[in-house]
Amino acid sequence: MKTDIILAGVGGQGILTIATAIGAAAIKKNLYLKQAEVHGMSQRGGAVQSHLRLSSRPVASDLIPRAHADLILSVEPMESLRYLSYLSEDGWLVANEEPYKNIDDYPGMETIMNEITSLPHYVLLNADQIARKLGSPRSSNIVMLGAAIPFISGLDAALMEDGIRQVFARKGEEVVEVNLQAFRAGLQISEEKIKKI
């Protein structure tokens, strides 16, 4: 098996936490893994992405070739489209609906939504809203992680929950628990979407 994932968002939105959680789970499963991150200047409110590659065989390149990503997971709607050329023909796009507008020329939401909904395989959800309802606005990235799980072959929900426990362990039991809830809420949305097709 192999799953190539592009993680997208804006610096500070927590995509590296998503990557770390998936990475922790993949290592437990003895999968081969490469995960390229963006550090440094772009982290200051700029567009950031991470290439995450899981495989049962050794992975060569740290970067995913274009048209090879099985999944684009984005915590921001416009950012989900920035890397569309990486998406494989049958790949899934899973994106947060809530825009992050820190630029003057942010395109119209309708344009963005039209582009996303014209893709053959997509899941849209408002992760910020779900996280706010859970009383933990900072967990919206983990809601997105939950929504992505059905599209990552080789990893399952139980394994991922262990990964989340590991990542948040040093922040205390309360934080672990609310992130597990966030994770399950996202997962449920994707599972329902899959059932419909």
Partner: protein, 538 residues
């Protein structure tokens, strides 16, 4: 042993520690910062009492590391590629003195300039200094090279350069550890004159370095990091260096490649292997990250020998980072992409954080200078370089660490008035202080604005070497105490700050304005940590 999931940077740190490292020295710089940060966060480093404090700049870091090597212990110094320019003096000369305890120099290059001013290739420095270079292709090799680099260094008593690039530095993968070695104990060099580069002694030492060159080549020939893979199709041979080897192999996923492939990860280049591939094949393709270093050496200036393809003939782009797609295009024209990135997507460049003190500093400075027109402010390297972008458009230079002060001095010499500069606190202590001393000595009419956020912010909030001592430092360098002013960059202080800046800009001598407010990132991190510790205490 269980595999660790490590960034390339972290793999280097772990490899060095497992090899018995006694001290790491560094100044933060993307993409090298995480090497030191990993050691600082490691329990093993604490248990082994490994020296792991940041230095004021790359030169002081390098020299301190060399001092530890003088003491017979294994030392590592880490920096970004342009940091090696700052440390170039000790670097070149340490190749001549040689080392005592194993000595590893890590330079992290940044092709495509993700967070840098240029994309210089550190391998030239290795060749310049006539020392061995290691260039890992993956995280495991990064670990192994740090581990074995010390052995190589001690065998020939020379520094060894470990060169990585951004992509490997900041990419994670599983890494297997090796046996943990004991640290060396204090043991001074047997030759008490080894480190004295008086001309007569330097000439002797330099000849020793030169006489070792064939040995270095022999090491490269037998190095496990260099490999020759035979292939049946001799129409082309491929030389792939470091990380570029992965981009090549990505395109032959079943592992079978018909052309002979020479993987080079240790330099100086193994001549026998180069000869083999160039003799056997009609033409040679060179795939390397960075400058066409290997390509140019093989091709020669006249290009009359082997037919070589690479970055010089346009087979690959002359500049920028490689990726698997660029390498794929050499072998086959790709199918059209199933999905295309829409062309209406807006750029989202990095920007100053909401509430950042630099913003209030720039707004006050812009107003103070509005009657003078553009072009009066030099600047430097840090978050505040983003003041070059709209809506601020506040600065007119960013060249190298500390250059803002000295360029302002030179421009004042040329008649520019007012001549001002904006420099961060950490950049000021890195390389700005000596420039300020120049300004004081000739009473140059310049205003140095130190935008003091009390941290090294751009690289993630490392401690700043001149914390709470900037006034004393400036006065100590000879700036008149009346012209060392402090302001707090907040909206509510705007009018007062404009007044302070105006007064100092109009002063016909050296003035310093310290605009001080803590970085909001480190401030909120501290707040969160305090909240957490309060919670656990109750």
């Amino acid at each position: 042993m269980k595999k660790l999931l490590l960034l390339g940077d972290e793999a280097i740190a772990q490899g060095a520690m497992d090899a018995g490292l006694s001290g790491i020295y560094a100044y933060p710089g993307t993409p090298s910062t995480e090497i030191m940060e990993y050691v600082q966060g490691s329990k093993m480093a604490e248990e082994r009492n490994i020296h792991r404090m940041w230095s004021a700049n790359e030169k002081t870091a390098y020299e301190a590391a060399l001092g530890m090597s003088y003491g017979g212990k294994r030392a590592m110094v880490c920096m970004k590629h342009v940091g090696l320019n700052v440390a170039a003096d000790p670097f070149m000369n340490s190749a001549v003195t040689g080392i005592n305890g194993g000595f590893l120099v890590v330079s992290a290059d940044d092709p495509s300039m993700h967070s840098s001013q240029n994309e210089q290739d550190s391998r030239y420095y290795g060749k310049f200094a006539n020392i061995p270079i290691l260039e890992p292709s993956n995280q495991q090799e990064a670990y192994d090279m740090a581990y074995e680099g010390f052995t190589l260094s001690e065998k020939y008593r020379v520094p060894v350069l470990l060169r990585i690039t951004t992509r490997l530095a900041h990419s994670r993968s599983g890494v297997k550890r090796r046996e943990v070695l004991p640290q060396h104990s204090l043991n001074l060099p047997q030759d008490t004159k080894q480190f004295i580069l008086l001309p007569a002694m330097a000439r002797v030492k330099y000849r020793i370095l030169l006489s070792n060159q064939p040995n270095f080549r022999e090491e490269s020939l037998h190095s496990p990091f260099n490999k020759y893979f035979d292939g049946v199709d001799k129409r082309m041979g491929i030389i792939a260096c470091g990380l570029a080897y992965n981009y090549l192999m990505e395109n032959f996923r079943n592992g079978s490649i018909d052309y002979p492939v020479l993987k080079i990860c240790q330099y100086p280049m193994p001549i026998e292997l180069l000869k083999k591939i160039t003799d056997e094949c009609e033409e040679v393709l060179v795939v390397e990250e960075g400058y066409p270093f290997v390509e140019e050496l093989i091709k020669g200036l006249l290009g009359t020998g082997v037919f070589v393809k690479g970055r010089l003939d346009g087979t690959l782009p002359r500049d920028g980072e490689l990726d698997p797609d660029l390498v794929a295009e050499i072998f086959w024209k790709g199918k059209p992409l199933p999905h295309k990135t829409p062309d209406w997507i807006s750029r989202r460049p990095p920007m100053l954080c909401k509430g950042c003190g630099h913003i209030d500093t720039f707004l006050a400075l812009n107003e103070a200078l509005k009657d003078y027109g553009p072009g009066h402010v030099f600047s430097d390297i840090g978050c505040y370089t983003l003041g070059a972008n709209p809506p601020y458009n506040a600065i007119y230079s960013c060249v190298d660490m500390g250059a803002s002060v000295t360029m302002a001095v030179g421009a004042a010499d040329a008649g520019l008035f007012p001549s001002a500069c904006v420099i961060g606190d950490s950049t000021f202590t890195h390389s700005g202080m000596t420039g300020l001393l120049d300004a004081v000595n000739k009473n140059s009419p310049v205003t140095v604005i130190i935008s003091d956020n009390q941290t090294t912010a751009m690289t993630g909030g490392q401690p700043t070497p001149g914390l709470n001592r900037l006034e004393k430092i400036c006065e100590g360098l000879g700036v008149e105490p009346d012209h060392v002013r402090v302001m707090v960059p907040l909206k509510k202080n705007h009018d007062e700050n404009v007044k302070i800046l105006r007064e100092e800009l109009e002063y016909r001598g050296v003035s310093v304005v310290i605009s001080r407010r803590e970085c909001i990132q480190t401030a909120s991190k501290k707040k969160r940590a305090a909240k957490k510790s309060k919670k656990t205490n109750t």
